[in-house]
C-alpha cells in the first residue's frame, strides 16, 4: 500500500486509456453492459420500484386487491412506536458497529504496528492482526448461534455457569429474553466482536504508508508516543478512518442477522431494528404496503447517508488539493 495513491494518480495518462478504433464505433462498448444492466434491472431496480410504489397502497398480499392509500402508510410510519424504537436502536447499533470498533481499532492498530510490529517482530503483529480479523469472516448466523449458546438463560448458559462459579451462588440471568438492557447489550457485544477486525486491518495497512522517518524525526525531537499519534498518524490515516466510518455506518443501518438470531426482536419487541421490523411485517403483517413503507424508508436513509458521506469526502479532497 506504500504511497500507491500518489504514484498511480501521477502516472495516470493525460488522455484516458482507450482502444483506438478504425471508424467510430464507440457505441460497441454498450454491448458489454447489457448482461449487467439486465440483471440489475431484474434483481434490484424492479423490486425497489415495486416496493416504493407499494408503499402508497394498502395490500394484504396474495390475490387480494391493492387499494391506493396516498401517504397513509408513511404517516402511520411516523407515528408507529415500533418503527421509532427500531430507529433509536440503530443509534446503539452505530455505537457498536461504527464508533467502538473504529476507536478501539485505531488503538489496536497503532499498538500492533508501532509497538508489536517494530519492537517484537512483524510476524507476531500479523498473527495478532489475523486473530482480530477472524470473526469478520465467520458467517454472522454462526457467530450468533455461538453467542446464543454462551448466553443461554438457565443454569446451562456458559456465562451464567461462569458467574455462578465466581460468585458461589447460582446465577440464572435471562440475558437475551429478560430485559431490554441485557438483550440489547448482548446484541451490541456480538456486533463489536464481529466488527473489530475490519478497522484493525485497514488502519494497519494505512500506517504502512506513513514514512517511518517522520516518526524518527519526531522521536528525536522528543515527541511522546501520543504526540506522534495525534500529529502524524491520525492525519495520515484520516482517509481510511473515513472509509471505515462510511462502510460500517451503512452496514449498521442494514443490520439484520444478529438481532434475528440472538433476540428475534425481543423481549417485547424492544430490540427491533428497521430491517428486522420490515422483514417481520412482510412475513406476518396484515398490510404489505406498510412493510414496503418501512423498507423504502430504510433504503432512502441508506442512500442519503451514502450521498452525504461522499459529498463530504470530495469536499475534503478538494480542500487538500487547493
Amino acid at each position: 500500500m506504500t504511497q500507491a495513491p500518489e504514484t498511480t494518480r501521477r502516472r495516470r495518462p493525460p488522455e484516458p486509456a482507450r482502444i483506438p478504433q478504425r471508424g467510430n464505433n464507440k457505441a460497441g462498448y454498450w454491448l458489454y453492459l447489457i448482461p449487467g444492466f439486465v440483471l440489475l434491472a431484474v434483481v434490484i431496480l424492479y423490486p425497489v420500484i415495486r416496493n416504493f410504489r407499494l408503499s402508497f397502497y394498502h395490500w394484504r398480499g396474495g390475490r387480494a386487491e391493492e387499494h391506493f392509500a396516498g401517504f397513509d402508510n408513511w404517516i402511520a410510519l411516523i407515528h408507529d412506536e415500533e418503527f421509532i424504537r427500531s430507529f433509536t436502536n440503530i443509534v446503539l447499533v452505530i455505537v457498536a458497529m461504527v464508533i467502538v470498533p473504529t476507536l478501539a481499532g485505531l488503538i489496536i492498530a497503532a499498538v500492533l504496528f508501532d509497538v508489536v510490529g517494530r519492537r517484537f517482530g512483524a510476524r507476531l503483529a500479523s498473527f495478532l492482526r489475523a486473530t482480530f480479523y477472524l470473526p469478520q469472516i465467520l458467517p454472522i448466523a454462526v457467530a450468533g448461534v455461538m453467542f446464543a449458546w454462551i448466553l443461554k438463560p438457565n443454569s446451562q448458559g456458559v456465562l451464567n455457569q461462569f458467574l455462578s462459579t465466581v460468585s458461589g451462588s447460582t446465577v440464572e440471568i435471562n440475558w437475551l429474553g429478560g430485559q431490554y438492557s441485557t438483550a440489547m447489550g448482548s446484541v451490541m457485544l456480538l456486533m463489536i466482536w464481529i466488527q473489530l477486525g475490519y478497522p484493525v486491518v485497514i488502519f494497519m495497512a494505512a500506517l504502512q504508508r506513513v514514512d517511518p522517518q517522520l516518526y524518527e524525526a519526531a522521536e528525536l525531537d522528543g515527541a511522546t508516543w501520543y504526540q506522534r499519534f495525534r500529529a502524524i498518524t491520525l492525519p495520515m490515516i484520516q482517509p481510511e478512518v473515513f472509509v471505515v466510518a462510511l462502510t460500517t455506518t451503512i452496514a449498521a443501518l442494514k443490520v439484520f442477522a444478529p438481532v434475528f438470531i440472538l433476540t428475534a426482536g425481543g423481549p417485547a419487541k424492544s430490540t427491533y431494528v428497521p430491517s428486522y421490523y420490515a422483514y417481520i411485517q412482510f412475513i406476518k403483517g396484515v398490510d404489505k404496503g406498510f412493510a414496503a413503507a418501512i423498507a423504502s424508508a430504510v433504503t432512502i436513509v441508506v442512500i442519503l447517508v451514502a450521498i452525504v458521506f461522499i459529498r463530504v469526502q470530495t469536499r475534503m479532497e478538494r480542500k487538500e488539493e487547493s
Partner: protein
C-alpha cells in the same frame, strides 16, 4: 480507489533499515505491557471459539455434569454424528460451496464486462452508471426479498440455488464494477494501442490483454465474493425453504431454533460450521488481508 492493485500488498511490514536500529534498543516495560494487553485482547476474541472446542466433544451426560470451562472427560462424537446425519450437513456444505463458487465466478465475469465498458470504453454517463450499479450494494435486502420471492416463485427458481446465485451475482458485481472501473480507468494506454496496432479486436484485447494484467485483482475479488456469499443470511433464508436447499448458516439457524435440540449437538454443529471458514481463512489469509485494503482509499 486507485490503489486497487493488489500487487502492492502488505509487504511493507518489512522495510528494514530504520527498524533494525530500533530493535537494538532494549524493549521497555511499557512495550511489554502493551504486548501483553494486545495478546489478551486477541485471546478474548478467540475465546468463544475455544469454548466451542472444549465442549463439542463432550458426551451429553459429561456436558450436563461439568463446567463449560472443563476439559472433556473423554472424546465423544455423539453431538457431531447427530448433527452430521440428522441435518444432512454434507448436503448443506455442498449447497454453500456451489452457491458461493458460482457467484464468485459469474460476478467476476459481469464485473469485468461492466468495467471494460466503463473504464476503458469510457461510455457516456459512466459516473452515473457506476452509481446505478452501486445501488445494488446500498439497497437493504428487506427491500428486495418480497418482490424477488414472488418473481422466483413464478419462474420456479424458489428453493433452488439459482435464486440465491442470481441475486448475489448482481449484489457482488456492483462492488466489483465499482472497483474495477476505477482500476481500468488508469489502464496504460500504450498497451491498448500496441494491441490494436497488432490488429487485435476489442473482444480479443479484453480477453488476452486486459484480463491477464488485472488477474491478481480478479482473484482477490473472487475470494471476497465467495466469502461474502457464504456468510449471507437474510435472502437465502427467504429464498431457500426446503431442507435439501439449505446452506450452512441456515442449517445452523434451524438447529438453533428447535427447542428440543440437544446442547452438545448445537455446539458440535456450530463448530463444524466454523471449520470450512477457518480452512478457507488459513488458505487465503494473505489474499484476504491484501484485499480488504484494496479499494479502501481513494
Amino acid at each position: 480507489m486507485t490503489t486497487a492493485s493488489p500487487a502492492s500488498g502488505m509487504q511493507g511490514t518489512r522495510h528494514a533499515d530504520p527498524l533494525t536500529r530500533n530493535k537494538r534498543r532494549p524493549r521497555t516495560a511499557v512495550e511489554w505491557v502493551l504486548l501483553v494487553l494486545a495478546s489478551l485482547a486477541a485471546l478474548a476474541v478467540v475465546f468463544p471459539m475455544v469454548l466451542l472446542l472444549l465442549n463439542a466433544f463432550k458426551s451429553p451426560a459429561d456436558y450436563a455434569n461439568s463446567n463449560p470451562m472443563d476439559l472433556p472427560k473423554a472424546i465423544d462424537f455423539t453431538g457431531l454424528q447427530d448433527f452430521w446425519s440428522r441435518y444432512n450437513f454434507p448436503r448443506a456444505l455442498w449447497n454453500s460451496v456451489f452457491i458461493s463458487g458460482m457467484v464468485a465466478v459469474i460476478a467476476v465475469v459481469i464485473s469485468v464486462l461492466n468495467s471494460f465498458a466503463i473504464g476503458i470504453g469510457r461510455v457516456r454517463g459512466r459516473t452515473w452508471i457506476v452509481l446505478l450499479f452501486l445501488m445494488a450494494n446500498l439497497v437493504p435486502q428487506e427491500m428486495l426479498f418480497d418482490p424477488l420471492f414472488k418473481l422466483y416463485d413464478k419462474v420456479g427458481l424458489l428453493s433452488t440455488p439459482w435464486a440465491v446465485i442470481l441475486t448475489f451475482v448482481v449484489i457482488q458485481s456492483a462492488f466489483g464494477t465499482y472497483l474495477l472501473a476505477s482500476l481500468l480507468g488508469t489502464f496504460p494506454k500504450e498497451i491498448l494501442e500496441a494491441a490494436a496496432v497488432d490488429g487485435a479486436h476489442r473482444r480479443r484485447i479484453l480477453r488476452s490483454v486486459v484480463v491477464p494484467i488485472i488477474r491478481p485483482t480478479l482473484s482477490v475479488l473472487m475470494v471476497f465474493f465467495f466469502i461474502w456469499t457464504w456468510n449471507e443470511f437474510l435472502l437465502p433464508l427467504a429464498f431457500l425453504n426446503t431442507q435439501e436447499s439449505l446452506t450452512v448458516p441456515l442449517v445452523l439457524e434451524q438447529l438453533n431454533g428447535e427447542r428440543q435440540t440437544d446442547t452438545t449437538t448445537l455446539i458440535a454443529g456450530t463448530l463444524i460450521s466454523i471449520i470450512p471458514t477457518i480452512i478457507f481463512f488459513l488458505i487465503f489469509q494473505r489474499t484476504l488481508t491484501r484485499g480488504i485494503t484494496a479499494g479502501a482509499v481513494k
